[in-house]
Subunit: 701 residues, 2 copies
């Protein structure tokens, strides 16, 4: 009988075990069947913030600015190699990196025949010559690689004529001279930097028969009036009296010979005779006490040169086909310690810190992060523009945002951000969590809001973001590709100076010591920019829900609408043009954006499917694209964004409408100019309605 | 002691149970943690194929063609209601449906003053008048809603002049007349349909000083030469002797007053005086035995009319933001039984079958299916074009493919498909599984390949797809939005007839009885088209991996390249233009497309993550977009696709290149025309390189 008992016990035990197994497998739900979707990890963020080192940035800058690195120069090429080396480093590099070379048209003065400006005496002899170079006050302004101050792309020529002072060389300035009865034909116009773009001065002058243009820097504009050697660099932040600003005088951006095509060797190149956008008359920036008459001799040369971009990528772990793009240009006019190497130094430190975490296996971002070092920016955003022409579709379809850090520190008082509304929220989030340099315990955000603020109907008092023009490499991304973009830097306390820009801008005095002594001793502002940019990058690349807030566009649209109603409403009514459809379109956008925001909040409370969130993120990423219209501004080059195209009209509203009204204002009803006003209005209405349509629940038509 | 035994047994039992539970929960992996991703269900496909009913299609057609339904007429509006009713049916309707109305410029003859063409005698008196209407042979050709034959958009006027016969009204025809010494100034040109587009005949004529154009249908072109009443409808398939083809004579497509803008009430409208694309001289289609001189009196009127599209949607279950779009136009010239109601009848049956499965809860597609009924196609693809202008971004970002079925049955011999290469594979898959109408046991595919075939270097003998011009509503989708598209219909056995098109095309003889007796008795070809379209829709909407095969573009590119090398290579070399970069670009595309195909195959063998497949599907869906360039053809309206824009050059290669070479051929080296050749070549190279870049692994730059 023992064996039946044993058998019985055995069977019972097996049955219990089996029952347990069955219960355990089927009846008790597994906690999380799929792992939680990859999301922003605050510990990683903390680590990155802590790792970004001010002293390493300083040492980066020292190396980068050690020698002049003009676009396509041998030293510029050396820096390409430096970047590749750092980005391929086995311990702190990226997944992969490579250089990509374009053949672009640049412009240089002649080494054999320097540009000269001479004052001519009554007998025709030279009584005074302007300095051809800046004074060698620190030992770094001499040397064959310090390019003479010149106006890039200005044509060669040797005009001689009476000197006329034309203020900033704006159209009004020349009109004013005409009104005063001054004969402009054949004169040399002396203008000062500022007010209008460099190239525009020459264009305006030539229209009035002027034969040559000189441009100088007025100490009042740049130096708070100071000019003696004691009061200026190397003794202070200010520009020495011999300082001259270089720059590109080309009207557009991108390689001049290959509009809309990448400047690869095989691309069609426009005939030099047919290139538009070059200054029409010899132009030369100077510093000089002038009398007249004046000989101007410009011997600039156009040259086809190789210019490289360097690109490196950290591949996204989950959504590798979504790119967070971070760019800085590499080329300078001379030493370029501020412009652009203060930004390159930050770029190197950011990529080092992120690359180190990557190589250690600690972290891989959800989305891909692409680092870009652009070439030939100083000549007209050339490297970045050619890149967008070459990879137009790929970038437009996949880029979440473009972050530009050109100059990282103009001055060390406060953060300054330019960008489109959807990026506002991620910048606010980032800066609230980072300590501001300087005394006290403020966040970057709390310091920032004291310098740049606005009263938002939605948020109350917040820091204000500037808008994006064409001042740096974000231009092709926002205007040509319609990618939400931003530019980040530290900048001045405007109550302390009225300098138009940091005084040694584009001069041979923009050196490491200048930065180290007068701009950001300790490099804590450089570090603040690195942390801000790093935090923004991580939030964009790692957050499950993309931190782009499209409903923040509603404020902009509402503000543009109100300006149009207030300042153009009566005029439009006189011409039987109603703003009603625009009102409707703005309201529709506001409503759809708000509703989408609600849907996002609801989703965020649950455990949404990654595919669902992906679909939503696509709506957010692609919203900026809906404002592009390549047929809106046929007379412009690249500009296609109906909210941010250049505005020449005075009313701060939709640029197409503002500009068209400005042109039509004094014309008769029914003129072509008034038809263009209607067309521009319809273009905006269609864009806003189309934008709203993309924000609707995706399966609603 | 019993209780210790009981206790011991109890504890042991609990331990065993607990152990079992632990083992079952943790040690045994759950089989499929997430449910299998939604994929094409062959049973659903079978069901749909079986449900599509030829007789229901027939009854649909009877109702649709019962009365004339000219765009914007009351009957056209009735049909809008009919569609809405069907699509909102609780048992067989869609998720939602609505109509969307535009205000568009159409053109009609005057009811009070019909267009007339008279032959004038020597004294100026009318000796013979052409018939103003077609003969009422079935009782359906009379009635006030049968619009008189006319040339839509031709201007009013009453030219009188000597008649000149100008064949097809092509440029060569007028040149030939000039060569013969015939004085064209002030004449009336008699032309026949075919050869060149309708509007082009008037444009060409006007260039030579012709005062008015008449267009007739040559029985040789339409009727295999037959013309007596006994040999023609209602006794046969052929056009009765009084038949006249109506049509739009507008050069472009879309509403003429709102290019690139949707024709909503508030949109900017071009001044009538500034509209381009209307025929410049009075034009009238006729049937007449003519002598000369001839009075032509055209009293057409331009009118702003409301035209509706009807849209209905079945929301996707998994990827609702991916649209499979299926369209057919609703408006006709008269009864339109073939054009377009043969297609509308199919549309209604397809949406009924799919709607029924939906409402029963049997099925919901993975992606969204959108059904569209377009208005005012006959006047120039207006409804579909306005739709693409209104929702440009939304459609471009989300539409997987556009399927057009305008006329579903031209004749009942074989399938005919036009489309871009990526859709070839899904059409092949669909048609291999559907039985062909007619005797025998052939599949549609096996019947099709006997009529239209080509020798593919990759596949061997396969059915050939035609390319997409601007003949129907696919035009804005492929040319303006860059969405992979197709047009499906049944068509003629060309060994049996050389009719340019089914003989009663655009006449009052295109009636239900015509279809029922002579085109497709039994409606089995209608059913075959419905099944083909239905299967394609389901495969596109339900397959986990999108059945768009981008590597099938390689053959097209290779073929275009070879034609360029053979027929243009020498000419280009003479002008120092190398095709090398084009060769490289084609090879790069081929390589990347092939590699992508490999990656897909590998993925398909495993259980890939839906997000991974989504990223891949995005690459496939968006490939067609990479061939769009809105700046490639500035003189064209909407055309932006660098592979399929209109080709006027004789060499069958990239149209921009073919056309530019044609224009440059007889000009000197260095001319603007040769610069344009280079520009067009670079445009293609850039597009192909850009396309290849989007096919690379997504995290490779």
């Amino acid at each position: 009988m023992q064996w039946t008992k044993v058998l019985g016990l055995g069977l019972g035990a097996a049955a219990l075990l089996g029952l347990g197994i069955i219960l355990g497998h089927f009846a008790i739900p597994k906690k999380a069947n799929s792992p939680a979707p990859q999301d922003l990890d605050l510990e990683i963020l903390e680590t990155v913030m802590g790792q970004l080192d001010a002293n390493r940035i300083r040492e980066n800058l020292r190396e980068l600015s050690r020698e002049p690195h003009l676009a396509s120069s041998p030293r510029d090429e050396d820096l390409v190699q430096l970047l590749l080396q750092r980005w391929k480093d086995p311990e702190s590099g990226l997944d992969s990196a490579g250089a990509s070379t374009y053949e672009v048209l640049l412009s240089f003065p002649s080494q054999e025949q320097p540009n000269v400006v001479d004052i001519v005496g009554p007998t025709g002899g030279i009584i005074h010559s302007c300095h051809r170079t800046e004074e060698n006050v620190t030992g770094e302004q001499g040397g064959p690689d310090v390019v003479q101050p010149y106006a890039a792309y200005a044509p060669s020529g040797t005009p001689q004529g009476l000197l006329v002072y034309a203020n900033r060389g704006a159209e009004e300035d020349f009109k004013e001279l005409q009104t005063q009865g001054i004969k402009l034909e054949g004169t040399i116009a002396l203008t000062r930097y500022g007010g209008v773009g460099r190239g525009a001065k020459a264009v305006n002058a030539a229209k009035h028969g002027v034969a040559g243009v000189l441009v100088y820097t007025d100490p009042a504009d740049i130096n708070d009036g100071l000019s003696s050697p004691d009061e200026t660099f190397p003794n202070s932040w200010y520009l020495p009296p011999s300082g001259v600003e270089r720059g590109s005088y080309y009207e557009y951006f991108g390689d001049p010979l290959t509009p809309y095509l990448p400047a690869v060797p095989s691309s069609f190149r426009v005939d030099l005779a047919n290139v538009s956008g070059f200054p029409p008359i010899p132009t030369q920036p100077i510093v000089c006490a002038l009398g007249c008459p004046v000989n101007v001799s410009v011997y600039n040369r156009l040259e086809l040169r190789n210019s490289s971009n360097v690109l490196g990528i950290i591949r996204g772990a989950v959504e590798p086909d979504r790119y967070v793009l971070y760019g800085n240009h590499r080329d300078s006019w001379v030493h370029g310690a501020v412009d652009p190497s203060s930004g390159t130094a930050v770029l190197l430190e950011l990529s080092r810190v992120l690359g180190t975490l990557l190589k250690k296996g600690t972290w891989r971002p959800r989305r891909s992060i692409v680092f870009a070092s652009w070439g030939a920016e100083e000549f007209g955003l050339i490297g970045s523009t050619e890149f967008t022409e070459e990879f137009f579709n790929k970038l437009q379809e996949r880029t979440v945002a473009y972050i530009n850090v050109d100059i990282s520190v103009f001055a060390n008082a406060t953060l300054r951000v330019q960008g489109t509304p959807p990026v506002q929220t991620v910048v606010f989030s980032a800066t609230k969590e980072i300590r501001s340099p300087g005394p006290g315990d403020l966040s970057i955000y709390d310091n920032w809001i004291r310098y740049f603020n606005r009263s938002s109907p939605v948020y109350g008092l917040v820091p204000s973001l500037g808008s994006l023009g064409a001042g740096s490499d974000y231009a092709p991304f926002i205007h040509f590709l319609g990618i939400s973009s931003m530019d980040i830097a530290y900048t001045y306390d405007r109550s302390k100076t009225s300098a138009r820009i940091y005084p040694t801008y584009h001069t041979a005095f923009d050196t490491f010591d200048y930065v180290d002594k007068f701009l950001d001793p300790g490099f804590s502002s450089h570090q603040a920019v690195a942390r801000t940019a790093g935090s923004v990058i991580l939030r964009l690349s790692d957050s499950f829900f993309l931190p782009l807030k499209v409903s923040d566009y509603s404020e902009t649209l509402r503000s543009f609408l109100q300006a149009a109603q207030q300042d153009l409403g009566a005029l439009l009514e006189q011409h039987s043009i109603s703003l009603g459809p625009l009102v409707n379109a703005v309201e529709k956008f506001e409503a759809e954006a708000a509703a989408l925001g609600q849907r996002i909040s609801t989703l965020q409370k649950g455990s949404p499917d990654p595919l669902q969130v992906r679909m939503l993120n696509d709506q957010l990423m692609l919203l900026e694209r809906t404002f592009l219209n390549p047929r809106a501004f046929p007379e412009e080059r690249y500009y296609s964004h109906v909210l941010w195209a250049p505005r020449t009209g005075s009313v701060v509203t939709f640029p197409g409408l503002s500009n068209a009204c400005s042109r039509a204002r004094d014309t008769a009803s029914g003129s072509e100019a008034w038809a263009e006003v209607q067309r521009q209005l319809s273009i905006v209405v269609t864009a806003l309605e189309g934008a709203a349509a993309t924000l609707r629940p995706v399966a609603d038509l």
